[in-house]
Subunit: 337 residues, 4 copies
């Protein structure tokens, strides 16, 4: 941590800063420039309250040198984390494919989609039971009944279930029924929910917030890991930009960025990234080319009749064609799919 | 709602769209241009599922003409809403001032700040008990104990309490202890929490999300109102922009915008808007000049020792000076403070 | 174009709008809803001044249905444009590779880089002579001398030259010495410069502005084409977002978006997109997987000693390895490189 | 400047960095932490090429401590700059008001607006002759003829003229005819134009770019000042955000921020900030309350017939009413208007 003093600070001001930090076990490096004096703090600066330090009237500003995340940090955990879900792995050589409808609608729908995506090679089934919708008047999901239907689809196909939690009140039924618990983009900084899922051992699929930086995203992962749950899968799903042609903008460079900053696996959601089914294919290919550990894709047997997110869903037939193409991209990356 | 058909659409495509909407009670206006055919839907289009319509393969895109919020909409409720909290009003002629520390820290601290801000003219006491922090390693608030201390401060001063809720699990103790329940910026689209507070009658202070549009913010208010709670106070607290000199950017034009779109009162948080105590004064003045119904300000007896948000807190003495100045701005606006 | 009238408008207001538009050759479709009346304009609405219309006191707002760009619009020019530069094509089956240093520094440097990139398969040589720098105190390029050195490199290798123009005053020497004239991101809306290059027949490489929408970018292309120069190559080079880990964020979905909206070729600059040499490879692969017609890459014989943009430049040896890998991605897309 | 070394760097790496900087006159402060080694550079670091340093393979990243602008920096010029334009001052006690139409349209129009705004107390006349328009098909201004008409209006009223330059080719006629040369938001980083106006002595009104940071804006001012022209007036005119209700978002906190970072005067354009005439009043008041040195307002005798920007223009009568109100806000700030 670097402390920059206000202009014209002298020994007295330096002394004041150092003395305010004396209860930490730190060393100090003083640099006096012609216009600026800076103090470098050496030691375990993670414990220093930078906000408090910034309030010191002699301090101009603080610069943080080290990343604020520890458990998610690759520096302290150089090996990539591979997460095991009923024997299926995310983060290893195989590229994980999660597919299914935006919402669980009926038993027939979810089972037929589950069978179809399994046949085409999907490793996991996704499907929304509790739905985060911008409008209170939109379909909010089948809720508990949706979880039941997902469970039936799992029994039928063996595919592990990925679905979103929206409230700590539902944690118990999620722990019983779900294989991977998803935290949606809008809840990425719902810290209470992060703490709650941190107390379980279930794998957590943590979507990046709509306007979050990578650092904030990794700090959200850190919340879960600080609670004792290291099974975090990061999911880039597009960020908000000024572009209106697509609903969001896929941050393709977040993939290599996260792989370098963290040991956690990172997957990509090309369906939500743009909201346009015709863009799923080019973005899914690009995601694999850029090093993603997996993709999560919305597949609906009848997108036109879907209760939500129809415009971004592809059909089982399109998904089947896509999987064949993606296999070749995985191969070029030395991976399987 | 306007439906724009794909290029080269003809009567068959028009017929298909109309027939897909026949179960709604709508009229249709067809405009055939040289390159573009559009269908105008007339009637209660709020019920039409625009996403589903957009999936129709003959549809190029949908344009929404009406605002998606109803209960929060000034069109259907032309009179401004005035919210009454223990006899004190927000949204009327008087500009409401809410003041207090970022976090409740000790009994002495909260009582002394409460007394000071009351003396200077504050109408409400703010103070965080449950704190949303970016890092799991930062001080998370005194939690339930913080609510107790706020209650003591209220008994001592009579000031109603404004404090943030972070989980639906705490709703009961908030209903018992708190006068205005705050929903923080990071939970603006925590739809589960919005629904829960919508079931109470407590006034809700709804902060605008960090990167939310005004429409999304009003839709969050709509969630609360759809549950039956019309006591919503909107709070502009700065949005995320590319500027790094200030923590956020106060969207001063949101004040007149919200006043026109909605009947709900809107207040401004100049402390969080920039994160810099020296900017509280110019922004508080600007907020009143732009028509805000109130301001919420962080005041700490010893900002340098504050457990959070010290850099943006002002002292009771500064607050007292500020109140004197603001009174004159309120007067120019034909209001009191 | 859709005109939405203010609430409670009636026949008088409708009449007023229509009469204000009677000098255009238009038809009108009126939709009267319970709360909203809208007028659809049918005909050549491109000539209607929407801003003026918006000032009409009975008008609430205007919605533009058709894209405002004509010559760049794929609707009116369904075939993709292939641009021929001394017999080398951009926009056809072959993926164009443009490579070279950020700045031309010395004769030896530019000739050695040109030879190296040519050997590895580059089709064009890039190199900055006039440099747009954020600071007036940074190296501003060799200017006219840089163009001379590029010309020498071209004589030596036969590679056509791509370099940036910064002022209309230099247009004449660019026309004489350069094969493709680049308009940089910061000049994307330097309308005077766009008009000037629109008067030439030289191919123009038009970079997307840092915070521009795709529509604004295509409108900048339209400026050039409106002047009579249809040889426009679009270049996505990353947009500004809140992410700070990378300098910009590559908008990978802009590639399929532009291919659909326009017939112009679109290439990608993975070097400027992130500012990090280690990200050039994953993003170049992703660009090809997403359908780009070419890539432009910074290659420097000694990045550590580069006078600008060293952190994002790769070495000739790295470039050679990259080209081998990219060839396989091009093949999967049914293209050559 | 702070140099952070890659993890696991030792004395050899430290030595390498220091030796690469030995041709500068610097001192070095070394801080070895458990995971991070940093080197503080002390001395005139403005000359150090940070980009080059960042390319050094042992360097992880660079942090810049000092502001990169010198001549615009308040640290080195504590007194506020007051700019004198024919005896009228910007930056002093009086708040400067610049008013006039978006575009000069006819002799009658500009003279009548000039007379009206003068009567209401405006100090300067604005009016566009060369217009930056997003579409090549929109009205581009009367160009040279527009300058002639402005000159006539000046002769008639004595008001100094403020108008925008779009090309270095027009500099000579601007120097002859114009009192304050405006650089528009889209040209804020048109470095060639900045250099050209830096060679004159004319006051320059420099608008902030649509998505520029304050630092980039001050660096654009630095370009002009580095050329020898210290007469720079900064103009905040709204930045691009996700909000669509207003065209841009006025960054009201930029006013106190710029006043602290720089000695240059800063004015506000409430007309372009939102694009809505009904928001001019609240934002103009807020600008003065936040400490602006002036405002620039679009006034048109007949906004409905304006050739551009009608929706944001107010009438002379509205302007007159506004001026009366603003006078009271100026008074509260201890200023005149």
């Amino acid at each position: 941590m670097i402390v920059i003093l206000k202009p014209n600070s002298g020994d007295k001001e330096i002394e004041q800063v150092i003395s305010s930090l004396k209860h930490y076990d730190l060393n100090f490096n003083i640099s006096k420039g012609s216009h600026t004096t800076i103090i470098g703090l050496v030691g375990d600066t993670a414990k220093v309250d930078s906000e408090k330090l910034e309030t010191n009237p002699v301090v101009e500003k603080i610069m943080i040198v080290s990343e604020p995340f520890k458990k998610a940090n690759r520096k302290f955990h150089p090996e990539p984390t591979v997460i095991d879900i009923n024997g299926r792995k995310i983060g290893g050589k195989e590229i994980a494919v999660i597919a299914g409808p935006c919402s669980v609608e009926t038993k027939e729908q979810i089972i037929s989609v589950a069978k179809a995506v399994k046949k085409s090679g999907a490793m996991f089934l996704r499907g929304g039971a509790f739905k985060p919708r911008t409008s209170p008047y939109s379909f909010q999901g089948l809720e508990a009944e949706g979880l039941e239907l997902l469970k039936l689809a799992q029994e039928e196909t063996g595919l592990p279930i990925v679905t979103e939690i929206m409230s700590p009140r539902h944690l118990e039924i999620f722990e019983q029924n779900v294989d991977v618990i998803q935290i949606g983009a809008r809840n990425m900084q719902n810290f209470d929910l992060l703490k709650e899922v941190g107390r379980t051992k279930k794998p957590i699929l943590l979507k990046r917030g709509l306007s979050s930086t990578i650092e904030e995203w990794l700090m959200a992962a850190e919340y879960i890991m600080a609670g004792g749950n290291n099974n975090v899968i990061l999911c880039e799903r597009g960020i908000r930009t000024f572009e209106t042609y697509t609903r969001n903008t896929l941050d393709i460079s977040a993939i290599p960025a996260v792989k370098r900053l963290s040991h956690l696996p990172v997957i990509v959601d090309p369906s939500h990234a743009t909201g346009l089914s015709r863009m799923v294919e080019p973005l899914a290919k690009a995601a694999i080319a850029a090093g993603a550990d997996g993709i999560i894709i919305e597949v609906h047997n009848n997108p036109e009749a879907a209760l939500c997110d129809g415009p971004q869903s592809i059909t089982p037939a399109q998904f089947d064609g896509l999987m064949k193409k993606l296999g070749k991209y995985a191969e070029l990356e030395g991976r399987t799919l």
